[in-house]
């Protein structure tokens, strides 16, 4: 491959260093193949090697254009994974803590304080509602994810 293309790919690979190795390798492999195709087509038009390499890079885009888009798509992938992970983590923690509250309440607290037996269930229900509200906010359109909007809604609904 022409040295211009090799230098270009090396620069892009350096920019993609934050990606996991396997993902980065796959992206570079695909990019290399794309440029090889562009070189082949330009060569068929009768251009010399320098023109072929330069035109292939002009059509493909700058190092920044190549790397920023891939990094953005990776960030989007991570954000989605984080939402799913946080949903299951919160669900699991809430279930475990609610089971603990029920068990401890009936065993220790209720007999000595003469409180209604339904109290822990109200607490559990409120905690689930709050957790679902917080989780569902992760899936709202971007404009509704502003903290000030949520705070205003929370305060106005409490009143």
């Amino acid at each position: 491959m022409h040295s211009l293309l090799e230098d270009y790919l090396a620069e892009v690979e350096a920019k993609l260093s934050v990606l996991p190795a396997k993902r980065r390798e796959e992206e570079m492999r695909e990019m290399r193949q794309h440029l090889a195709d562009a070189v082949r087509v330009n060569r068929e038009l009768g251009q010399n090697e320098d023109e072929v390499a330069a035109n292939a890079l002009t059509e493909f885009g700058s190092v920044e254009e190549a790397s920023e888009g891939i990094l953005w798509s990776w960030k989007r992938y991570l954000q989605r994974k984080l939402r799913i992970w946080s949903f299951w983590w919160i669900t699991g923690m809430l279930t475990a803590s609610d089971a603990f509250i029920c068990f401890q309440f009936s065993r220790i607290y209720a007999p000595s304080h003469h409180v209604p037996s339904y109290q822990p269930y109200c607490t559990i229900l409120c905690s689930w509602v709050l957790a679902l509200l917080i989780l569902s906010s992760q899936f709202l359109p971007a404009k509704y994810q502003q903290p000030s909007w949520m705070w205003w809604w929370f305060v106005s609904s409490a009143q």
Partner: protein, 123 residues
């Protein structure tokens, strides 16, 4: 007249191209250029973020396939959800273009030079 492809339209165009046949990245870029007679321009590197997003949304799948000549290529194919989404987005783009044409016709009747979507421009 050459026009830069609007970034937001790229995923819809990719889906429309893939609805005709599975293609690799360079093939998609070439198909878009050929279909627009080189009028629509885009940096080919912008294709790959769009492909990643479509893969994440499970509208397309990419698979490395051996070629008769040369190295393996990653070929993209529409999923069933992708086929439905391709039709939906194609229709949305057509409707949008029709709306713009309607507004322009009202602003400057007879100067837009087009009778409607799907009709060739007069020479």
């Amino acid at each position: 007249m050459r026009k830069d492809l609007v970034k937001g339209d790229l995923p819809a165009l990719v889906l429309a191209v893939l609805s005709r046949q599975p293609l690799h990245g360079y093939g998609i870029a070439r198909e878009v250029k050929q279909l627009s007679s080189d009028a629509l321009t885009m940096k080919e590197a912008t294709l790959y973020p769009a492909l990643r997003v479509l893969e994440q949304d499970r509208l397309i799948t990419g698979e490395w396939q051996p070629q008769e000549k040369g190295a393996d290529r990653k070929v993209y194919t529409l999923t069933e959800a992708g086929k439905r989404e391709a039709q939906k987005r194609t229709q949305e783009l057509k409707d949008y273009a029709t709306l713009i044409h309607t507004v322009l016709e009202k602003l400057e009747p007879g100067t837009s030079g087009r009778k409607g979507i799907g009709h060739a421009q007069p020479a």
